[in-house]
């Protein structure tokens, strides 16, 4: 052919974004492009592939500073709308987690508990501009004599509010069934007895880490779409585990990589941060997350060309195995199969339902595409990519 092998740099891609010449497509659109042109030609054509995912992500929360009062206070207990927040930090610094229930929540005493309001809802309320009740207690010191604080605040009143999620965007997730003889209520939703339904939770072909399975371009400092605003990957997330069986294309066959992400809450939107209540389990936060993948070469084009047919996961029993720490698969299914609404488990046909919004995932990928095309969002080269092997 005589054509040179494509090799682009971050700087070249950013220059094209600045010039308004960058070719940006979503991960769903990239599937057809790679299929039609092959990875080399696709890499020549496309500069950036945008991904997206929107679903409950429990390991989420917010660092905040709520400002001083007179006399000053060193808060040792903090509540926001009766939800306890962590106060073992400096005087008026705190962290509120998405799954923290209201102090007087009946939890699962009335089974299955509804968990109508939790830490995730506090974050949604704040980002939506609604006022919340902040309460703090302190033991008092010579430098911080205040003992109590109680005030209605909005996000504008907080000097600092940082969404900081220790684990988001799981690269693949289990398909959950319940092989026990009674209904169970899990973080994977309500699962009927004797394996009569199956729930799954991934944006599939649009999912960020499915499109860069070996984390070649994602790591500390990667600029991302987070909660409707701009955020950053700060490092690999908790439970990040790259050492799992993979397909020929390099994609994990079971849950693997994760990202820790953060961003200034004040530029985010309640459209992309939603408090959720999961029956019998608890509250959480649905997070909108989108990662741009720079197409540096044919390898990145091939990675981002992955389709729902190429992506697989394991069927896991949440009636007995999961809570007993038993690692066992009842079969491997592709996301394309899961999306048809029916899979086969132990020779029986089982109805499937998603927990992750494919529609919203697509909207995020489209929105991020728009930002890049408009020259409002550039691609960061990570200071360090996430580990592809852990010892």
């Amino acid at each position: 052919m005589g054509k040179e092998i494509v090799q682009k740099t971050y700087e070249e891609i950013n220059a094209r974004i600045k010039a308004g010449e960058a070719v940006v497509v979503t991960a769903e659109e990239m599937v057809e492009i790679v299929r039609a042109k092959g990875p080399e030609e696709a890499a020549r054509t496309v500069d950036v592939v945008t991904t997206g995912t929107f679903s409950p992500m429990c390991s989420s929360g917010m660092f905040f500073n709520f400002g001083q009062m007179t006399p000053t206070i060193k808060a040792s207990k903090v509540w926001v709308n009766k939800i306890p927040a962590y106060a073992g930090l400096a005087a008026v610094d705190s962290y509120i987690g998405a799954t923290e229930p209201t102090e007087d929540d009946p939890l699962n005493k009335v089974y299955p508990g509804e968990f109508r309001y939790g830490g995730g809802h506090v974050i949604e309320d704040l980002v939506a501009g609604r006022s919340v009740l902040l309460e703090a207690k302190a033991y008092g010191t010579d430098c911080y004599k205040g003992r109590k604080m109680k005030k209605e605040i909005t996000l504008d009143d907080l000097p600092y509010a940082m969404l900081c999620n220790p684990r988001n965007g799981y690269q693949n997730y289990n398909c959950a069934v319940n092989l026990s003889d009674k209904t169970v209520y899990t973080y994977m939703g309500m699962l009927k007895a004797n394996g009569r339904n199956a729930n799954y939770c991934s944006a599939g072909a649009l999912s960020p880490l499915f499109n860069d399975p070996h984390y070649r371009t994602i790591g500390m400092g990667t600029r991302i779409f987070l909660g409707g605003g701009v955020g950053y990957v700060t490092w690999h997330g908790t439970q990040h585990n790259p050492n799992v069986p993979r397909t020929e294309g390099g994609v994990p066959r079971k849950p693997a990589g994760t990202m820790m992400v953060q961003g200034d809450l004040k530029q985010m939107s309640e459209k992309w941060l939603r408090g959720v209540s999961i029956l019998g389990y608890g509250s959480s936060l649905a997070v909108g997350l989108g990662v741009p993948i720079p197409i540096l070469n044919a390898e990145m084009a091939a990675f981002t060309g992955v389709s729902d047919d190429d992506l697989v996961t394991q069927v896991v029993d949440y009636g007995h195995d999961y809570t007993n720490g038993i690692v066992r698969s009842y079969g491997e299914v592709s996301y394309a199969q899961l999306m048809t609404g029916q899979i086969e488990v132990n020779g029986k046909k089982v109805q499937t339902a998603p927990l992750s919004s494919r529609v919203k995932a697509r909207q995020i990928a489209e929105e991020l595409k728009g930002w890049i095309k408009d020259g409002r969002f550039y691609i960061n080269r990570p200071a360090e990519v996430m580990p592809d092997q852990l010892g």
Binding site: F54, G275, I278, M339, T352, A353, P354, L355, R358, R362
Partner: protein, 147 residues
């Protein structure tokens, strides 16, 4: 064949009458009781599916209205708050009649109130409580009044 689901509210004076029996005898309609409840003040609430010729269904409804039964299409009393719904699809796994379903290949979650039988299973399953059943509150208020 005309097939519709109705929400019936029976005043307490009628809750002892064999209304459904007469309905079948006189108007030749097929019925399927999807939900029936007697509330604390002895008023009744029923979700009833009626099947028959349009004429028969209409006259059976007129008969019940004459008895003082409040008749409403069930589809009118159930709604999805589209601002709240974020199209995850969890509800499609519990809806037994396909009123909540996924449109493929875009995976949009579709709600068809005409197919809904008012079982209410989707209400607590929805992580953002986007499904609203208006008669659910009525039962709650009834219970409160009983204390």
């Amino acid at each position: 064949m005309y097939n519709r689901i109705y929400l019936l509210r029976f005043p307490k004076e009628t809750s002892n009458d064999p209304v459904i029996y007469r309905l079948v005898k006189q108007y030749d309609v097929e019925f399927n009781i999807l939900k029936a409840d007697i509330l604390p003040h002895r008023e009744g609430l029923m979700i009833l599916e009626l099947k028959g010729t349009k004429e028969h269904v209409k006259s059976s409804l007129a008969y019940m209205t004459d008895l003082g039964v409040n008749v409403e299409r069930l589809a009118a009393s159930i709604r999805r708050d589209d601002d709240k719904c974020f199209q995850c699809g969890a509800c499609t796994g519990v809806c037994p009649v396909g009123a909540l379903s996924l449109h493929r290949p875009d995976m949009e979650v579709i709600f068809d109130p005409e197919k809904c039988t008012g079982c209410g299973q989707c209400v607590p399953i929805c992580p953002v409580r986007a499904m609203e059943v208006s008669w659910g509150m009525e039962i709650l208020e009834g219970e409160e009044a009983a204390f």
